[in-house]
């Protein structure tokens, strides 16, 4: 074997390092400008903006997880919002258990909605969520196990393409209907809210919000490095091979289902972490997060940013969500969904590689032209056949 750096490190090229550096700078600068700069200063970042950027960072992590499976392996999941929401609910359950006697009904064990429903005992599946470590485990495990079981059946039965997309939609829709029910035990259509503190810190405090923002950026960086390591490894090449020609990959002796299952499960775990970081910053998780439209929106972010580029997914998530924030707060608000749909069509027709994908493509074309021009100068006669 050739000696070389660890496979997490060797995957980082200049672009990847630039991406990590920018993210790290934002992770430090935004909280600093929020906490250390007086609010009278022009450089002050308001707490509202910190929360908003935190939301974008969570969406970016979700987009990253979608890009890993869609951009590299061709698995178009239109239900990734389900894994995001499940991670969010796991975090929400922890936060609910932290409320304790500070709730409206002051029940030390039961969350308010259970008291309201006349429940007398905590359901078994709520056990353990008062411990952060347990909740953290569930944030990874619940989306991961669901994705594993779902993927095991789907990939083994060779469900691919649009059929897979449709059943992922059905999956998130079914979960939404389930979580809407009061007797499901997750607060029905109100979901989980009214959070007080996380790990002993007040969730509403400016410092906590700033810290959560930084942590989300760090999670985004870790997620990026993991995805980058995967897609640049031989494993990643096999993923692309599956995307390009699944049957060919199979006849070469690769067990396609194992590859898909691994990457799909990992992607669900990343989406779960994104959801878990989202909930304390937004302050609520309810079944509407499972709405099929949310998952489709997340796919649009990736398409806009550029499939199969990782950094593109992140940029797409931020750009589209910034546009959403901008347009839905003005007179154009009622037309946002038309604009989103129009954006998707425009990107598909005019910029099929997305923002980052097109930049890559143009620079590659320029390089080719430059090298062709250079070769012309020193062209050797081709050997005769």
């Amino acid at each position: 074997m050739r000696p070389g750096p660890h496979f997490l490190i060797r995957s980082l090229d200049r672009g990847a390092i630039a991406f990590l550096a920018v993210t790290a700078a934002i992770a430090v600068a935004v909280p600093l400008l929020n906490l250390a700069v007086p609010s009278s200063s022009a450089f002050h970042v308001s707490t509202y903006l910190v929360a908003l950027f935190g939301k974008y960072a969570c969406y970016a992590l979700l987009a990253l997880s979608i890009d890993l499976i869609w951009g590299y392996c061709g698995i178009l999941s239109l239900g990734h919002g389900a894994f995001f929401a499940l991670g969010g609910y796991a975090m929400g359950m922890y936060l609910m258990r932290q409320i304790g006697t500070r709730g409206v009904y002051a029940n030390p064990i039961l969350p308010d909605f259970m008291v309201f429903l006349n429940w007398h005992e905590l359901p078994v599946y709520w056990y353990g969520f008062q411990h952060f470590a347990y909740a953290a485990l569930m944030i990874l495990l619940v989306p991961g196990v669901l994705a594993f079981v779902f993927g095991w059946f789907a990939f083994r039965s060779r469900v691919t393409g649009v059929y897979l997309s449709i059943i992922t939609q059905a999956l998130t829709y079914a979960l939404m209907l389930g979580f809407f029910r009061n007797n499901f035990g997750f607060g029905g259509n109100n979901g989980l809210t009214d959070f007080k503190d996380i790990l002993g810190f007040d969730v509403l405090a400016e410092t906590t919000r700033a810290a959560l923002f930084s942590i989300t950026c760090v999670a985004l960086m870790i997620g990026f490095v993991i995805c980058r390591a995967i897609v640049t490894s031989k494993f990643g090449k096999v993923l692309v091979a599956i995307r390009d020609a699944e049957a060919r990959t199979r006849f070469l002796g690769y067990r396609v289902e194992s590859y898909k299952l691994f990457v799909f499960t990992l992607s669900a775990c990343i989406a779960g972490v994104a959801g878990a970081l989202y909930v304390p910053q937004i302050g609520i998780i309810n079944p509407s997060e499972f709405a099929p439209a949310n998952s489709i929106e997340a796919v649009i972010w990736v398409a806009v940013g550029g499939r199969g580029t990782l950094a593109g997914a992140v940029i797409g998530a931020v750009v589209v969500n910034y546009a959403k924030t901008f347009f839905t707060s003005g007179i154009l608000a009622p037309y946002w969904l038309y604009m989103l749909g129009g954006l998707f069509i425009a990107v598909t027709l005019l910029l099929p590689r997305g923002i980052v994908g097109s930049l890559h493509h143009w620079s590659a074309l320029r390089r080719d032209r430059a090298s062709a021009a250079a070769e012309e100068g020193v062209a050797e006669p081709l050997p005769a056949e």
Partner: protein, 263 residues
């Protein structure tokens, strides 16, 4: 007593024939919605042999390939590889790992990988997901890829994307991928389809070269190409063997002529 002896003798002969085979197909039937794509097909191929399979459209050539590579399960019959593996029970991946490589009718390469990566992915190595995750290229592997690129005449295209190759180059790249797998048996479906005359001749040369170390089954329409190969020919018709022998024997066979020219 005499009958007993004759039976035994027959059995011995059958056993001997079986002992010599690399691929043993017997009595295979495959139906799709009542249509018999393969009808009691029996064929056997010896190690080191190159066999050409010809036959009109719908004769069952591709279905036979599908059965051998595990894409289609036979309704009836036995398919034994290397005298011990029952291919009817295995799936594509397992069969590929046993050492059977397949080239598709329509050239299928990985469009967004470079020519080099295409070959490297096919190179014999541990295929398990957890191994490929931490795998590093070795100098030896790089050398083998270069060697194969030379054999399939694509060394100059090393860094081009698979999708940017011409039709004929894709065919060769796919053959190169088969070589990289280093299979015991290569199934090659219409390698000369869509090629120029010069490319067709080169492809025949290439297959002969490959046949020096591998057993090859070639399905082909192009009679001139089959003649160039100069190997034993099996003609299929309506899912079973119609004739077998040298190209001259087969092409003068009355029934083959009838099937090809219409009655």
């Amino acid at each position: 007593m005499k009958i007993q002896e004759r039976l035994e003798q027959k059995e011995n002969e059958a056993m001997e024939a079986f002992e010599r085979t690399l691929l043993f197909v017997e009595g295979v039937t495959v139906s799709f919605d009542g249509f018999r794509a393969l009808n009691n097909l029996s064929i056997s191929v010896e190690p080191g042999e190159m066999r050409a399979i010809i036959g009109p459209n719908g004769a069952g050539k591709t279905t036979m390939m599908d059965v051998i590579t595990g894409k289609t399960r036979p309704d009836k019959g036995t398919v034994i590889f290397d005298r011990k593996y029952d291919l009817a029970r295995l799936d594509e991946t397992e069969i590929a790992l046993l050492g059977i490589g397949r080239k598709f009718q329509k050239p299928t390469v990985f469009d967004s990988h470079t020519v080099f990566d295409n070959i490297e992915l096919a190179l014999k190595a541990d295929r398990r997901a957890r191994k490929t995750l931490v795998w590093r290229e070795t100098a030896d592997e790089e050398r083998r890829v270069e060697e194969i690129l030379k054999v399939v005449r694509l060394s100059a295209m090393r860094d081009r994307l698979g999708g940017s190759l011409s039709h004929g180059q894709k065919q060769w790249l796919e053959i190169g991928m088969l070589l990289a797998q280093d299979p015991k048996l290569l199934l090659v479906d219409e390698p000369a389809a869509g090629m120029t005359d010069a490319e067709t001749r080169q492809t025949a040369e290439l297959l002969k070269e490959i046949n020096q170390e591998h057993t090859v089954i070639v399905v082909e329409h192009d009679m001139a190409f089959v003649r160039d190969l100069g190997v034993k020919v099996t003609c299929l018709h309506e899912g079973s063997v119609l004739a077998e022998g040298t190209i001259d024997q087969v092409s003068t066979n009355e029934r083959v002529v009838e099937v090809y020219l219409g009655r």
